[in-house]
Each structure stands twice: as C-alpha cells, then as structure tokens.
C-alpha cells in the first residue's frame, strides 16, 4: 500500500519550568493512503502531541528533537517557519478538534467561517466560494444550508457544531484529516452519526483519516489499523482485528480487559494497578513494566525492540522474544483470541476445500 506519511523515530521534547521532558520517545509509524488509522492511548500518552508534529502545531516550548516525518518527499521535522507550515496546514493535513464549543469563532457566522477557508485555499471568486461553502455544508449533513449559512455557532446543537467543524476542515480539500477525539464531547447517539458522516466523507473526498481517541468502541467502529500508545511510545500496532482479537502487549491486554463490556457482572473488573509514569523522570526499560503483572526482569532494564507478529502487526514487548516464558493473557483476551483462531482455521479449511 502507498505510504502517504511516514514518521521515523520521532522524538519530541518539551521544556517545562526549566526541566526538559521527553513526550514522544522514538515513534515510527506509517500512514497509508485512504486508510483510517486510530491512535489509542490514555491522556498524557502523547497521542495528540505526536500528531501535532505533522502540522507544526506543537506548543512553543516543544520541538521535534530528532527523527524524520516524510510527507510527499519533504521532511516536516525540519520545517521551521510559519510560511513553510502554511503550505501543509489545512491544505494538505487538516484537523478536527475535540470540542466544537471552543473550535469555532462565536462572533462569525458559520457560513463565513467555511467561506474563509475556501477563499484562502482555493483561488475562487466570492460567489463561487459561497456556492462551494453551501455544498460543503450540505455534504456534512446540515439540512437547509441556505438558512444555516447565516447563523452563528450558538444556534447549533453540539452535534451540528461538530459537523460545521468538520466542514471547515474539509473545505481546504486536504489529503489527510486528523480527528482529535472527534466525538468525546458528544452524546452516544450523536457520536454514531458523526462517525458515519466521517466514513462517508472519507469515501467521497478520498481522505486518509487519523483518529485520536481513548474510546476502544470508537476504534472498533472506524479503524482499519490501530496504534496503541503508552508513555510516548507506540507499543503495539496492527490491523484492527489483530489488535482486538490477538493483542500481544500486556498493556493492550489490560486496556481491553478492563472494559466493562468484557467484564462479568458481579465479579470485579480487571484493573490496571498504579498510574501512568511521570515523563519528567527518565524511563528505563519498558514504560509499562511497573504496572505490568507479566513483567520480566529485563523489562526493567532494557527497552524491548519491536517484534513483528505478522507482516502488518508489531509489538514492543519482551514477551515476544523467543527466550521469554510462555504466559497466558487475562481470561477475556484468551477467550477472544481462541474464537479468532478458530474462525481463522475454519476459513483456511474452507479455502482448502475450494482449492480442491
């Protein structure tokens, strides 16, 4: 598959009150054209910071320390000036933010905010731009766009407002759309509608979408591929099915089995001990080791390398080393893995039969 964006060994650092902290610790991740990639992680895992480096939107006290971010032959990690970024931001890579309350200008009409982007990024006349803006409003599922065009954000409900934010983002006709927790501020019924909308826009506009979320339900709905982040590192990455049915890293196990949906009523839920590490102090070995009941001695000493599980699936855990002892994952994980394997076997048998 064609790579549209490729991050290689990216390290991001921040200075905070005279101290330097490492927010992203050598992350490599490819983005393929036309796919939906979900980046999952808790708050502070660096999922937002990582994607902000694609658009030059890090806070002023942060910088890309090393590594490369390749997009269309350019290394975005070396971009310094706003001028350079203006060629990328919005035009090539656009962003949808979490809270539609704060990402729209309350003093301008909704139509004007879309018009602004259209005029900035496509050299068209006012009347043409207006017509285009109306089309976009219709595309994001806002009925009666002629009337809505002249209304202000406060006249819209939360879900409708998020549709407007999406409209502004796609108004510049970007290649890549980064959605940072696009549905976290919305109700479940609205969430489902927004996810459906993003999916249909992806087909219509040929978008590549990166979803940043902590909600594994959303991930299961939208993602082709999933990257799991913990303490500034992608600890596991693979196809959606691989991550949900055959996860390898103990953190992914823990994350999945602590979901109430997989729990048995009346029994305690699987809970992860402790709290995520402090990024101020240097992390030695596997960042998850102190909270990991499956941790090996080496986990506290050396950072595990990336082990390839399948051509599309890799994980950073010493458990995949051939010398590691065999462990049984938590019950819900073992259960779904077994089902998945059985299904796979059945499929293979069927194919065998068909071949014969």
């Amino acid at each position: 598959m064609e790579k549209i964006l490729s991050a290689e060994d990216v390290v991001v650092k921040f200075t905070l009150r005279g101290e330097t902290l490492t927010a992203i610790r050598g992350v490599s991740l490819d983005l393929h054209r036309g796919e939906s990639l979900a980046i999952v992680g808790e708050s502070g895992s660096g999922k937002s910071v990582f994607t902000k480096t694609f658009m030059g939107m890090l806070d002023p006290n942060g910088w890309v320390d090393s590594g490369r971010i390749l997009y269309k032959g350019h290394d975005l990690a070396r971009y310094k000036t706003e001028r350079q970024w203006l060629g990328i931001r919005g035009r090539e890579i656009a962003m949808v933010f979490q809270d539609p309350m704060t990402s729209l200008n309350p003093l301008k009409t909704v139509g004007h905010q879309i018009l602004e982007t259209v005029e900035l990024h496509r050299s068209v006349r006012r009347a043409e731009a207006r017509r285009l803006s109306m089309d976009i409003l219709r595309d994001v599922g806002i009925s009666d766009p002629e009337k809505r065009y002249n209304q202000y954000p406060h006249e819209f409900s939360g879900g409708m407002r998020q549709r407007v934010v999406i409209a502004v983002a796609i108004a510049c006709n970007p290649n890549v759309l980064i959605c940072d927790e696009p549905t976290t501020a919305l109700d479940v019924t609205i969430q489902a509608q927004i996810l459906q909308l993003l999916h249909s826009l992806q087909e219509k506009y040929g978008l590549t979408i990166v979803y940043i979320t902590h909600d594994l339900g959303v991930v299961a709905n939208v993602a082709d591929r999933v990257a799991v982040m913990y303490a500034g590192d992608v600890i596991e990455c693979g196809l959606c099915e691989e991550i949900f049915y055959n996860p390898q890293h103990p953190y992914t196990w823990a994350l999945l089995s602590s979901l109430p949906q997989l729990g048995v009523k009346g029994e305690p839920l699987f809970a992860i001990r402790g709290t995520p590490p402090n990024l101020h102090s240097e992390i030695k070995g596997d960042a998850f080791a102190p909270r990991n009941p499956y941790a090996l001695e080496i986990d506290f000493i050396r950072r595990p390398p990336c082990f390839q599980v399948s051509p599309t699936h890799r994980a950073r855990t010493w458990l995949l080393d051939p010398r590691a002892p065999r462990v049984t994952p938590p019950a819900p994980i073992a259960r779904s893995r077994k089902l998945w394997m059985e299904k796979k076997m059945e499929k293979m048998k069927e194919q065998d039969r068909d071949a014969r």
Partner: protein, 317 residues
C-alpha cells in the same frame, strides 16, 4: 440486586417531582413528573444524554436544587421542600454525593485531611480530635489510600487517586445512599476499572446504596441492578438492567442501546444505529402515562403504544 430479601425496603422514593428553573417567560422545566424508588442495597442507574436532567434529579435529592412540585421521601420521611433542621442533618449525614470531575471538586488549597473531614466538622462540631483522625484514616484505607496521605495537597495526586479522595470524603459521613454523578467519565480508561471495583466493594463493606448517574451505557450495564432512562427531563423507561438491555420497549431506549460502542470490530461493522424521532409519538390527542407494563418494568406510553408494547412482551415469553 443481590437476591437478599423478598421485598427489599424502599430507601428513597421520588414521587412525581418537577424541577423548574427561572420564572415567567424564561421558565425552563428541567425535570418533569419523575417518579422512581431506590431499594436498600441496590445500585440504581440513571442514564440519559447531556441536558436530559439526570444531574438535576441527583441534585434535587441532596437539596441543592429545590423541587417545584412532587416530593422526595427518605425512609418514608419527606426530605423535599421545607423540612426541620433535624431532618436536614439526617439528609446531610445519610445522603452523600460523588462528583464527576475530581480535578474540580477538591479544594486545591486544603490538605486531604481537611477535605475528608470537612463534613465531619460540620456534622459533629467539637468532636474529639482522636475520633476524627481515626475516621479519616479509616476512610482513606477503605478507598485504598494510605493514612499518611492526609498531610498532602490534592495536586500531588493523579486523577484516579483524587476520585478516591472524593469517595473517602463521602465515606467519612457513613452515609446510606451515595449519589455518584458520572464518577468515572473524567478518568482515564486504565483507571476507570479501579474506581468501579472500589465502588462495588464498598457497597458490600459499608452496605451502601447507590444512585449511579451516567451517560455511558456500557458502564451502567455492568454495574447497576436497575436502570431508568431519562429523555428531556422525563423518564421513558425503567426496569431491571438485564431486562432493559435485553428487551428495550421505548423507541428512545432502543436508539440509545443501538448506539453503544462495542470494543469488537465484527460487531461494530454490522451495527445498525436506530435514530429516535420524538415526533413519531402521537401524543396530542392521547397523552402518555407512566405505566407498569409488566412487574417491575415501567414505560412511558399512551394507550395505543401500551397495546403495542404488551404485544412485544407477549412475543418474548
């Protein structure tokens, strides 16, 4: 419900309460004619979307919001409207609340010791210092924190720990009923399970009853015994949680359940989300009533819908 009694006693009765804000042209009805009971020892879930009035109900019970009409009874005694100081103290002691955002609900400038014992100071002024310390230490231990933490400030704790402090402050009062208003939605995914487990274990240990207010249906399904669904200030359905999730009757409940995200790609890919359109109800001529359609299963329906729902129930049996 732990299958204990034949007919567990009603701890709290909410009877036809309406809560209005503002007056005249600005009047807004946040809660309209809501009734339900909470039985001793159960976890009662209240789910709805933002703005549906679920928090207002919780706040009406602990007397932060006054009810416009209707009444709330605690162990058979009215606790809404004008009540005696003595009853008020009883409410304060026995009904406590856990708030959503542990970052916002703890006093940044006070030590944990003070935060946890603030209610204690108010309820038992002049109480022996030794007793107070013992109560604080016990509460902290019960929520899985060390008594030494009493000398620290809230900013030294993570979100999950802060929520534990919020729970400790409730426990120190030794309440019977705890109103948990979205207690885990502000927490990180890996921390949520810890707090949920803590709440379940405290139910046994401190024989608590919970009113669990949430918008996340998967959590509600996991933890509650009975669930009420609220839409635009009015209850639409109430039943045992398992029954409600298996056989939802009201179209709003069905829409809500169909939208629950599931952490299983195979399920998600084939999911069909139902959309609820309030205009489907023909309520102009035949207004809805709150009816018990089968034992323990309440739904808001008019006479035509009632027949329809009854048929549905007939099919399941």
């Amino acid at each position: 419900m732990p299958d204990s009694g034949l007919c567990p006693e009603k701890l709290l009765e909410v009877k036809n309460i309406t809560v209005e804000f503002g007056a005249g042209r600005k009047k807004f009805t946040a809660v309209r004619d809501v009734s339900f009971d909470i039985k001793k020892g159960e976890i009662f879930g209240l789910v709805g979307e933002s703005g549906s009035g679920k928090t207002t109900i919780g706040r009406a019970i602990i007397r932060i919001n006054a009810v416009t009409s209707g009444s709330i009874l605690y162990r058979g005694e009215r606790i809404s409207g004008k009540i005696s100081t003595e009853t008020d103290r009883k409410v304060v002691k026995n009904i406590q609340m856990i708030f959503q955002d542990p970052m916002a609900s703890l006093n940044e400038r006070a030590k944990v010791d003070y935060i946890v014992s603030e209610g204690f100071y108010n309820l038992y002024p002049g109480e022996n210092e030794e007793n107070r310390r013992r109560a604080v230490a016990r509460a902290l231990l019960d929520v899985g924190l060390l008594p030494e933490f009493a000398d620290r400030f809230p900013h030294e704790f993570s979100g999950g720990q802060r929520q534990r402090i919020g729970i400790a402050r409730v426990l120190v009062m030794e309440p019977e009923l705890v109103i948990a208003d979205e207690p885990i939605s502000a927490l990180d995914v890996s921390i949520r399970a810890q707090v949920l487990n803590l709440m379940s274990s405290l139910r046994e240990k401190r024989s608590l009853t919970y009113l669990f207010i949430a918008h996340d249906l998967s959590v509600v399904q996991f933890i509650t015994d009975r669930t009420a669904v609220i839409h635009r200030g009015a209850l639409v359905e109430l039943a045992e949680t398992e029954k409600l999730f298996a056989n939802p009757l009201h179209p709003y409940t069905r829409a809500l359940l169909s939208a629950i995200p599931s952490p299983d790609p195979a399920v998600e890919r084939h999911k069909r989300v139902e959309v609820y359109d309030p205009s489907r109800h023909d309520y102009a001529a035949d207004p809805p009533a709150w009816i018990e359609i089968e034992p323990g299963h309440f739904v808001s329906a008019n006479s035509k819908e009632k027949e329809e729902y009854e048929q549905n129930i007939g099919q399941w049996v």
